[in-house]
């Protein structure tokens, strides 16, 4: 069955304590190539049937209505997984 991937990230201007805490560990762990980390969510929706353009639209609706919180997050991606 096809899968739709929805990705949600904290808005750039909103503090991301999780990312910040990971960030803080990097130098000690020897990862100096990355200057910052932000942590968001990835959802996989299993589609019941075909992943038509309509179903993708519904996934976008679901993302906006339930999966992302518009006051703190934005939707980074909604796409059919290959």
């Amino acid at each position: 069955m096809p899968t739709i991937v929805v990705e949600v990230m904290p808005k750039p201007e909103v503090l991301d304590p999780q990312g910040k805490a990971i960030d803080a560990r990097l130098p000690e762990l020897g990862f100096r190539e990355f200057s910052s980390v932000r942590q968001g969510k990835r959802f996989e929706l299993t589609v019941d049937g075909e992943a038509t353009a309509e179903v993708l639209d519904r996934a976008k609706q679901l993302a906006a209505q339930l999966l992302a919180n518009p006051s703190t997050e934005y939707i980074a991606k909604v796409e059919v997984a290959k």
Binding site: P17, N69, S71, Y74
Partner: protein
Amino acid sequence: MVRAYLFPWCVPQAQPTVKELSVNNTPLDTVAYAGETPDVEQPWADLGLNEQEYSRIREILGRRPTEAELAMYSSMWSEHTSYKSSKVHLRQFGEKTTEEMQQHMLVGLGENAGVVDLGDGWAVTFKVESHNSPSYLEPFQGAATGIGGVVRDIISMGARPVAVLDSLRVGHEDHEDTARIVKGAVAGVGHYGNILGVPNIAGETAFDPVFQGNPLVNAGAVGVLRHEDLRLAQASGTGNKIVLFGARTGGDGIGGAAMSSAAFDDEGAANTPVVQAGDPLQENVIIEATLELFATSLVEGIQDLGAAGIACATSELAAGGDGGMHVELTNVLLRDEGLTAGDILMSESQERMMAVVTPDNVTAFEEIMAKYGVEYSWLGEVNASGRLTIDWNGERIVDVDPTTVADGGPVYERPYARPEWLDTVKADTFRSSDAAANLPETGEELKAAVVELMASANMADRSWITSQTDTSVGGNTRQGAPNDSGVLRVDEETGMGIGLAIDCNSRYTYLDPYAGSQLAVAESYRNVATSGATPLGISDGLNFGSPEDPGVMWQFAESTRGIADACMELSIPVTGGNVSLYNQTVDTPIHPTPMIVTLGRYDDVATAVPSWLHPAFDGSALYLL
């Protein structure tokens, strides 16, 4: 409000900041420039000031304010920060206090929070703060940062936070938006308090349609300290250094203080500031670092950063001290390099503290910050100028007398009058309703009525709420939910401890604000007293509609009169409190909600009496008093 967003896709929305307020696109509105350009139009109305207030600022300064000064005055003179409409009524809490009532008070009205003596060198401080408008926009973060903010208030008194509490008023249980708010707020309160490791031992939750578009989220905290650890917010001593420590400053919550002082319109708040996200891990570290600063006597004064951030903290610290202060705003550590000077001054980023340190202690201070891994930056110095000056990239953008900012705001004697609708409401009694004609009579009917009542949102089991907060962390909780009063041990040796309850029935205060507020005091007092503690003081969280409505102002006047009179009668002082006005949707104010926290003392918490029927009490007699 239903969350109706049609594809606000992918692109993070542009952030509304104070940038938009910049005057004529000049690169920087300096003091010198302001002096040369008296006629520049300034957005005082958008910042919540009225015309007289704006002229008064010009009069004080002898010129127009700079953009930064205007932002500073507008938030410090906002209702939320200045108590301009409520002050005249709050005075009676002091006036109606006798010496006997004051006997346990170490610090009274006017400080961050009152401090009550517990004996044996122990003291306790407690307060509630409203976080209503942020919690409507984003219940989880709003409630979480409500807890974070009030806990920082308590730490800045020199106390270790030992308990938190919260009081929630949300809309009708069946409304589609209620679950979002109540579940979000409950989870947020739990999230923050749990990670702080402070037990949640008291609170209440009520559902009523009047709170649909304007829920109330009041968060409280209790701290314990030794007498000698008491600290007050003030910057004195010329040459002492000003330091900002904790989280970096970002673009969050700019304009929050002004927003809490405006009613929601139909669509919710129009100018929504960037949501403040809490970082309880950061706060946890700050608590330990700050308490170590106190224990080693490394700070002269300290102030938490809340509404109106650095603007508020610098003007309050300076106004509380005896001289002036100079701040280099450029030294502030930023999370986002694009912020303007105005943004930085007004940002409400969480988990920050400002302290005053003598030059001798600078190295020791830095060592403690390093030990806890807390970031800090030195911002400036206390001086004898009597002025608060702030520079940005070598240019002066603020030059004010700090007392005019912190304490010199307007005080209003707002007109008030008993609203006429009250007669109609009062005439509409139960006896005159349909229900009265169909009272349950048979055993079956009575049973059904009782079951229906018990299943209603306001009576139903609260364990889904209380199981989401840690009640036992710290190991000193003698009683938490479902007891009417939380009980906490303070002294492990003697068992001495405190009892705490928060209460208010908003329907009573709606029907009769004077008697209803007395009832709120009585209920909260009773809950503490019947658990076996001796009540020592109350703190209030006064949540009302718009003070510009004479009917609301009447409710406020009656309510404060009721609280003061009830306290006289019970011989217990008001130790502090918080006022939140403009809680209304368009023209409909919320029911007046003066939440009352009573704090009591036990010689030994082992004597506390629970308020539920434990199976072990089988066979005990039950009395109705």
